[in-house]
């Protein structure tokens, strides 16, 4: 799949061969600080993005001629466990409604600093996905217009999908 072609000198990929993996590779060559490691597994492309560049990368991929990632399918958090550092992952699943290809962007966060910029300015659908990630993992999206809990009650203590949160909670919950 990846062996089909290599980007030419201008870092652009010819249209019919523009696979997501080539696109992010070309982007990495253009802006080395934007994209970290690129992995391809199970025919899915994952690109690591430093958190301070996530908005730029998303904006670029959304508007780029070869990419056209105009559809944010999903944002989901993941906890690697309290002993891991960086502890949290935030995965962005991008999809193109015209090219029908997908790419995953991954941002890693340390437990001590769980802030990252919001992408609600790029896709409005990010609003609820980010609220859900905040609700369940405690990841804070800076600049989000309405960062409140969405699934759990507003006075809930703790973040339910963190690995150190017990399955049955700390105590029986009752509405105050």
């Amino acid at each position: 799949m990846v062996t089909a072609s290599v980007p030419d000198e201008n870092n652009t990929v010819s249209k019919e061969k523009a696979t997501p993996s080539l696109l992010v590779t070309a982007l990495q060559r253009e802006h080395p600080q934007w994209i970290g490691e690129i992995a391809e597994a199970f025919s899915e492309v994952t690109a690591m993005v430093p958190r301070e560049h996530i908005v730029e990368v998303c904006t670029y991929l959304k508007s780029s001629e070869e990419g056209r990632f105009d559809f944010l399918a999903d944002i989901c958090g993941a906890d690697r466990g309290p002993e891991e550092e960086p502890r949290f992952e935030v995965n962005y699943h991008l999809f193109s409604t015209t090219k029908h290809h997908r790419v995953r962007l991954k941002v890693l966060l340390n437990e001590s600093d769980v802030h990252l910029p919001t992408v609600t300015g790029v896709w409005r659908t990010a609003n609820w996905h980010e609220r859900e990630t905040f609700d369940l993992f405690g990841v804070i999206f800076d600049g989000h217009p309405d960062l409140r809990r969405i699934l759990l009650p507003e006075d809930w203590q703790g973040y339910a999908l963190r690995k150190d949160f017990p399955l049955r909670g700390y105590e029986p919950y009752s509405l105050k």
Binding site: A73, C76, N91, H100, R102, R104, W123, T125, W128
Partner: protein
């Protein structure tokens, strides 16, 4: 003015017109919110100024529960998310795990999966049609729809033993093969179904009241729909030709001949027409799948993952050992992460599974189409009449079990 009348300072005189807006709470027990959805509506007279959905009343921590269950036990959790389309949820989940395991699914199992999923899609659309019409005031349609849906539930029950929570698909294949005479029963249903669709059309499509209640209501443009992440019939009702069955084909959908209906009107009516046409397409796919059913294995050749046949367990020592190990300890799934999207009845159902090895997943996340479609509701209802809010919610076809998870 205040000095002449000697008004005490705590009574501030405000020189502005009377406030005409008020905030009301719609739901969570409102019958047309399709479950327990609460909307905080700011209304001015009869028109909606602002709507804020409040969800989470059905949250049961399913994503947390996945992490404590073995992979095969997760299948029954997916049934309970979108309880109108459980086979679609089963499919999304088992395919994600199969992708991690690298399993090849035999032809017959894939065809049966397509057949069952399309029947389930019809059943899901029938519930939508019945309740949507009921919300707008057409009671009769509801009974016609549920009569047809009953036939599909009977078919699903015949195959899997369950009506609402079938858990029919297993990692690596199916729970068991179709019962004898199943093809005949499906054919009987499919032969009669076009007449039923005609009945629905007669009841609703030409109905002036229904047209007035739906046409031009709840508009969302194609650009907005994509930006808000709408998928499925809601997106195709805005004229975007996108169907995951076509865009990223799975379980053999690329071999079936079907149309992707789109409507350009962007309103409740367009979403209604898309689903009505989709039911006919689903029937077409089911007919093709039925014709393709050939005898063959229904489980992948992976003895460490797929439960052995009963007969093999009685005669083969290793089959018995594998059975014991799968049930008692589960099976190890290689490290990695996948996101598998499928076209559920309501839109893109994406299942993200992350494995660190071992018999339990490290993280399972479900991108529910209802969740994302509902997030666009404020955009659609602003400026509409309060009675149209009900029509717009109905046209989104949400299931709160999937939204709250």
């Amino acid at each position: 003015m205040s000095s002449t009348l000697n008004i005490p300072p705590q009574f501030e005189v405000v020189d502005r017109p009377l406030d005409t807006q008020m905030t009301i709470s719609m739901g969570p027990q409102h019958p047309s919110t399709h479950g327990v959805l609460r909307l905080e509506l700011v209304i001015d007279g009869e028109s909606v100024v602002k709507a804020t959905p409040d969800i989470g009343y059905l949250h049961t921590g399913m994503e947390k529960l996945f992490e404590y269950k073995k992979y095969q036990q997760g299948i029954v959790i997916t049934d309970r998310m979108d309880y109108l389309n459980p086979l679609g949820n089963n499919l999304g989940y088992v395919m994600a795990v199969e992708k991690l395991l690298g399993l090849e699914i035999p032809e017959r199992a894939q065809t049966i999966r397509v057949l069952m999923c399309e029947l389930q899609r019809i059943a899901s659309h029938l519930v939508w049609l019945g309740t949507h019409a009921l919300d707008i005031g057409a009671m009769t349609v509801f009974f016609y729809c549920f009569r047809e849906r009953e036939k599909i539930l009977n078919l699903i029950e015949a195959a899997s033993g369950g009506r609402l929570t079938p858990s029919y698909f297993r990692i690596g294949g199916l729970m068991m093969d179709l019962p004898s005479g199943f093809e005949r029963r499906v054919k009987q249903f499919l032969d009669g179904f076009p007449n039923s669709v005609e009945e629905f059309h007669k009841l609703l499509t030409g109905n002036r009241i229904f047209q007035k209640r739906t046409q031009g209501v709840g508009r969302i443009s194609a650009e907005d729909a994509i930006d808000w992440g709408l998928s499925g019939p809601c997106l195709r009702g805005s004229g975007v030709n996108l169907d995951i069955r076509r865009a990223n084909p799975y379980t053999g959908y690329e071999n079936y001949d079907f149309e992707v209906p789109t409507e350009p009107d962007c309103d409740v009516w367009a979403r209604y027409m898309v689903r009505m046409r989709e039911m006919k397409e689903s029937r077409k796919i089911s007919t093709q799948a039925l014709a393709r059913l050939k005898p063959g294995p229904i489980k992948a050749d992976a003895p460490k993952v797929v439960l052995p046949d009963r007969e093999a367990m009685k005669t083969h020592m290793d089959a018995l050992i594998h059975h014991f190990l799968i049930v008692a300890e589960g099976f190890d799934v290689p490290e990695g992460e996948v996101y598998h999207p499928i076209e559920a009845s309501k839109g893109e159902l994406g299942v993200y599974v992350k494995s660190n090895g071992g018999p339990k997943p490290a993280r399972v996340h479900v991108r529910g189409p209802s969740f994302v479609n509902l997030s666009a509701l404020p955009q659609m209802v602003e400026g509409e009449m309060i009675a149209d809010v009900v029509a717009i919610i109905g046209s989104l076809d949400i299931v709160l079990g999937e939204i709250d998870r």
